[in-house]
Amino acid sequence: MEYDPASESAPDISGRGRSRGFSALRYKFENLFKSRDLYLGLFGIIAFVGTWHLLTGVLTLPRFEKLPNPVAVLTEFTSRHPVFGTSIYAPQYYLHILWSVWRIIEAFFLATLLGVPIGLFMGWKKVFKDYTFPILEMLRPIPVLAWVPLAILMWPGREAPIIFLAFLASFFATILNTLLGVESIDESYFRAARCLGSRPRHIFFRVVIPGALPFIFTGLQIGMGVAWFSLVAAEMLSGEYGLGYLVWDSYVLIQYPVIIIAMVTMGVTGFLFSLLIRMVGNALMRWTVREAT
């Protein structure tokens, strides 16, 4: 098999062009089942889980024996009376998810509400950017997780510091991408708008905002990712509920299968959130569906 990147790009099409009508959809759907990738992927996942089971459950090699094996995890997860109290039937499990999700929503909305307007304004008014950008650049290299102790000092209670950390991570990503988005708008759009007789507010609402939208959504997606990232760490360090806390608590209490359940739940929830943002973005930006020929 010789190298050819083009052969790999075929599946990429599926994300674009949803407005193409039913026949196109069916065409793609048929293609999906014809494609080798689906079966390969299934095979890969089965092989992965199988190897994991073989190493931890069957062969019980040294070191591996300590890890929970997939069967144990699955039993726990689907049991009506879970040994360690975490399964799809346990309200406790959903409580943890809800806590994490609620924190993320709070942090993310705050970050979006603040970050997008500030970013837009920074891109639009050079003077404002001159004053604010250096401060941002000073703070940005500090990893969000290095803020943990300071956050605990600054904010009262348990809840506020955790949300603050998730907010901070998401805020930087949002603000920077929004700024980048405004700056990447081609000068000729501004010129065209001006020569069509726009007043400044027209330019802001009809050029700056829609023009920056693709970058804003990239920023929101990245922001969501890093918010999860920091949330987990913050919950591990100082939480009472939440998935991050669940992972750490299960470790401390030697309830190892629960660790895996919590990890997978985090992955799935994080993925669903970024999917949601992508869907909202696509719905708002129909014009990016097909790029120039």
């Binding site: 069509l196 007789g197 829609p210 023009g211 939208l213 930006m285 014009w287 790029e291």
Partner: protein, 291 residues
Amino acid sequence: MTDKSSTKKFAGTNSAAPSGDGRIEISNVTKIYDPGGVNVCAVSDCSFDIEAGEFCVVVGPSGCGKTTLLNAIAGFHSISDGEIRLDGDVLCSATKMAEPGADRMVVFQNGALFPWCTVLKNVMYGPSVQGRMTSHQARAAALDILRELGLSEIGDAYPNEISSGMRRRVEIARALINDPKALLLDEPFRALDALTKGVAQEFLLQAYDRMKKTVFFITHDLEEALFLGTKVVIMTTRPCRVRKMITVDLPRPRTYKVRSSKRYLELKREVFDAVHEEALKAFKAGERELA
């Protein structure tokens, strides 16, 4: 607004601001850039007039400063010396920069249709932000002009969904709906392939024959210049000044057939000789700069 002008106006432009004649006088314009302390003279002592309703094509090697001139008229750049007048009023001078406005519409080199608006919304944009029509009127006017130019089918498409040739047509429509005094086009067909370009040029000619606006058209394509223009102004390579002015006396309306007429060839030879030398100079200068 009921003045019976001899040229046909597009539907929907009736309520537009009173449109003057659109005579542009460019006198002794000089533009010096100063990036990093090196004085670059882009335009030097350049003067010529464009009569009202004239189709003036400016030809010169790329990077010779034609665009600087256009930007000065449109109000995107200042000039260092001289002045430009529109219908006798000073548009810009050494001390005053022109304000971009709806009386001078620009069509850009790479196209500047807002990709986030449908074709219809793009065309409506001008009238609705200028506040001279309600959005309802603007919509009706935009639909009218699209229909007249044969673009009504694509009203709901986004610019990314139509071909580049089509995009240029829409952009011209977006400019015309504002009933400008002058139309400034900056190599609008540059990125099109030759055959699409031909069709787009014919489209522009049709529109011009209908409304007889003053047109300031920049290109470095001789064929295009001769095919479209009433007057061809040939510029020298940097610094930009007028080298030669040729009146194209080909009859209008023109179709692609003109391109294989005898007179066209004679004119082409004339222009070719004038330009070729400049092109070579520019080419060499460009390579020297890179080396």
